[in-house]
Amino acid sequence: MRNSAWRIGAVVAVLATGLAACGGQSSTTGGGTAAAGGDASSIKVGILHSLSGTMAISEVTVRDSELLAIEEINAAGGVLGKKLVPVVEDGASDWPTFAEKATKLIAQDKVATVFGGWTSASRKAMLPVFEKRKALLWYPVQYEGLESSPYIFYTGATTNQQIVPGLDYLKEKGKKRIFLVGSDYVFPRTANKIIKAYAAANGMQVLGEEYTPLGHTEYSTLVNKVVQAKPDAVFNTLNGDSNVAFFKQLKSAGVTAEQMPVMSVSVAEEEVKGIGVDNIAGHLVAWNYYQTTDNPANKKFVEAFKAKYGPDRVTSDPMEAGYNAVYLWAEAVKKAGSTEVEAVKKAAGGITLDRPEGSVTIDGENQHIYKTARIGVIETDGQIKEVWNSGKPIKPDPYLKTYPWAGGLA
Amino acid sequence: MSGTLLEVRDLSVVFDGFRAIDGVDFTVEQGELRFLIGPNGAGKTTLIDVITGLTRPASGSVRFEGWDLVGRKEHEIVRMGVGRTFQTSVVFEQLTVVENLDLAASFRRPLWSLARRRRGVSAAVEAAMATTGLDALAARPAGVLSHGQRQWLEIGMLIAQRPRLLLLDEPVAGMSGEERSRTGELLVEIAKDHTVIVIEHDMDFLRRYASQVTVLHEGKVLVEGSVDQVRSDPRVQEVYLGRAEDRDKRPAGGGRAGAAGEGRTGSAGAEPAEGAAVGSAAGEVT
């Protein structure tokens, strides 16, 4: 009996040291010698998106475009004469996992920078990690603003580059009575606060404001509320699969885009396929980029993307923003002559590149990007046709300080 | 001390419109050993279920030492001093024999003291083991016991509870001849200082151990009296022996049969004369 006791003890001990050894081992393999990751001929960069779980559907596409950018940069000789080596991690649609993997990328893989995140929640979870460890995150998705971390670059739109132009467009078209529909989380709630402030200042009327839980699929009651309120337009901040259910049920309730257009800010080319063109054609979206955006840089991007991932694939705004992020970081590194975080931050301000969405410039102050706002209408072929743009890149203003009506918001 | 311990008055139980017990009056005196017999469907087990709180009556009262039991929860009734066993013995297979008995003996302890470990074996458990002869098996898990041993363990658990009224539901069902005799002796032993009600089918067993007998039939008390009185009563003979011809005429018999009768096969064939009666009626009211 005593022997068996010791046998158990021994097994446990072996297991524990094995665990410890594994931990230690992977840390040394990840460690490397160079101060900022990689070695003499390579630079490690982290890519951190949800590859599994509910968000994978969206985030995988951004990972793809970021990998494409890295491939292109390497083909063109790399950065500072070194090749970029991506270290891809899975955030698993789970915010604490994002924080954990970000820590791993920084502490263990010692990457020079990280491109990643989609949901606001994942960004908020990663933010303390990057700030405490003084590492860089490039976040590629439009978001609710009211944030400006010194260790994050925001390559998607902030509210004054997407929501405000969307409202401007509706106002211009005489759609004064609007109904707000959104998923119940941070972005829609913040966006709707801004919309209500805008409406109050611009003689528009908000007839209703409804939220549904993430993943909600039963919209008949909500559609009924919308129909009864008879708004001129709906401003839609629903996220993910809920959009499919909402548009299907809106369509079958007999609502047409002519009588009551829906302006969406989270529906891009990728989502249109799943919703079904039938159900959404004619409705409006607000972004900074469409696959159809007409310029040589975009033509090259779309072709390269389809060549790498297949002709069926589409490109979308967040994908383009992720693609840009890699180029903007590479440019900043070249300018700084180093991958060292503070040097890159300092060098980044003012960098201007011609990207698929047109000219983009890094605002050195808030680390957001000057972007052109574009309103599009969904065509019957699933593509989005631009019907309006802001003419020139809009200066990012995450706290809406330059808008008098937004005074009470933050 | 003597006097009325249990008094059932005008009791009726209705299942989906079917009157399983129909106006039963039933009294048990302190210190009595009472047998409850009747063909399947007579309402014997239902009566015990009502006394122990498992089934709610449609009307009537059940008084135990003057307290009304109707509407009380099962465990409250046990705490008042009424214990029972089940047709199909239910013991805790994962626990040892002594643990089973100890749990039965411990319900009067305050809740917080249950959080302490059991040290040694209490007198009540010791006594229950001695009475049922399970001493040698004390440390065995109850799951390995034979059918007869399980029944004894159930009876032992009942004794360990130190109740004032014991209700045994077919304690010898499925037992071998030798086991029956041992159980009978056990019963006599217990009856010395307890009030006991036994449901039994086995006529042979009845002859050997019963004194007072109550016969139930179709939810009513048919006869009450000594074994000989009851055996010689023509109505009882009619009920028991006449059933075989009867059964085809009873349309309701099979109607609810679907939900009934698990674990009942064991009691058939105990005695040839009754085999037909017991085996024929699947309609023990459930």
């Binding site: 909600h216 079958s252 | 989906d16 096969t265």
Partner: protein
């Protein structure tokens, strides 16, 4: 007042959806005590069946898919029952965990086979438009739910298979003793229960997303219907589904969608205080 009238058909149609997704579960859960967490993925399988049939049947795919999805999901259920679940009878909680494992695998499988993004199933042209406040596709789902209930009721009460099924549901041992091949009945039950999930999946393509996560959106609601309705009780499931549908629609109308879900949960807990075994319950003396 207008709201009360307006929300009534909406509540009924939500109830019809709930009933469709829960109907199969009342069988598998009710008869066999199997908590099939993969039920949601059988629904998903039905939806993808409609998607795949589009290539062949075009816009009528939804109609063609009904029997096919029934067979596909039913077969999946049959395979699950034969390979795993039959070893688990009497251990309902273990089947819950087992089938959850199965559901994870099926979700990932769908992701690998069809891709992570949602796919589109086009509704037939004749389902465009509607009658007053109710779209035709909702009426179609309503009719489908009623049809399924009638078919199941007929099967249970008018065929010998169905009666055997009821016998097993009420008392497994006794049914076995009486010569019913309970294993065979179980297979049939699981086939039908899972098949109904397939039909629900086809119906859901009309109103919701079709993607790998489809099942996860409905599974909790489906179980709540079964819990509130009572084990294996067809009429319980019908009443529970309609009641929850109405509650949901009114609660959401007067509050919001998030709060409505919470209200429904609280209502179910409260209801179980009154009827702990659900609305209808088989009486049994068996001591468990």
């Amino acid at each position: 007042m207008e709201a009360i009238v307006n929300q009534l058909p909406i509540g009924l149609s939500i109830g019809a959806v709930l009933l469709l997704i829960a109907l199969g579960l009342t069988f598998t859960f009710g008869q066999m005590g199997v908590i099939n967490m993969a039920h949601g993925e059988f629904i998903m399988a039905g939806a993808y069946t409609a998607y795949l049939l589009q290539g062949w049947a075009g816009r009528q795919a939804v109609l063609v898919a009904l029997p096919v999805a029934f067979a596909v999901a039913g077969l999946m259920g049959l395979i699950l029952e034969r390979t795993a679940i039959r070893h688990f009878y009497g251990r309902p909680l273990d089947t819950l965990l087992l089938t959850w494992g199965v559901s994870l695998v099926l979700q990932q499988l769908a992701r690998d086979l069809f891709g992570a993004p949602n796919v589109q199933v086009q509704a037939p042209a004749w389902l465009q438009g509607g009658l007053g406040i109710l779209p035709y596709n909702r009426l179609f789902i309503f009719a489908l739910a009623v049809g399924s209930v009638v078919a199941i009721w007929g099967y249970m009460n008018r065929t010998s298979h169905g009666r055997r099924m009821q016998a097993v549901m009420q008392n497994r041992q006794l049914a076995a003793v009486m010569g019913i091949n309970t294993g065979r009945v179980d297979q049939r039950t699981f086939f039908i229960g899972s098949g109904l999930a397939g039909i629900a999946g086809v119906a859901l393509t009309l109103i919701g997303p079709v993607g790998p996560a489809l099942g996860t959106y409905y599974i909790v609601d489906a179980f709540l219907v079964v819990v509130a309705g009572g084990l294996g009780q067809l009429r319980g499931a019908v009443i529970a589904a309609v009641a929850l549908g109405l509650l949901n629609s009114y609660a959401e109308f007067w509050t919001n969608a998030s709060l409505a879900k919470v209200i429904v949960f609280v209502a179910i807990i409260a209801f179980l205080q009154v009827r702990p075994q659900g609305m209808f319950v088989l009486r049994s003396r068996a001591l468990t």
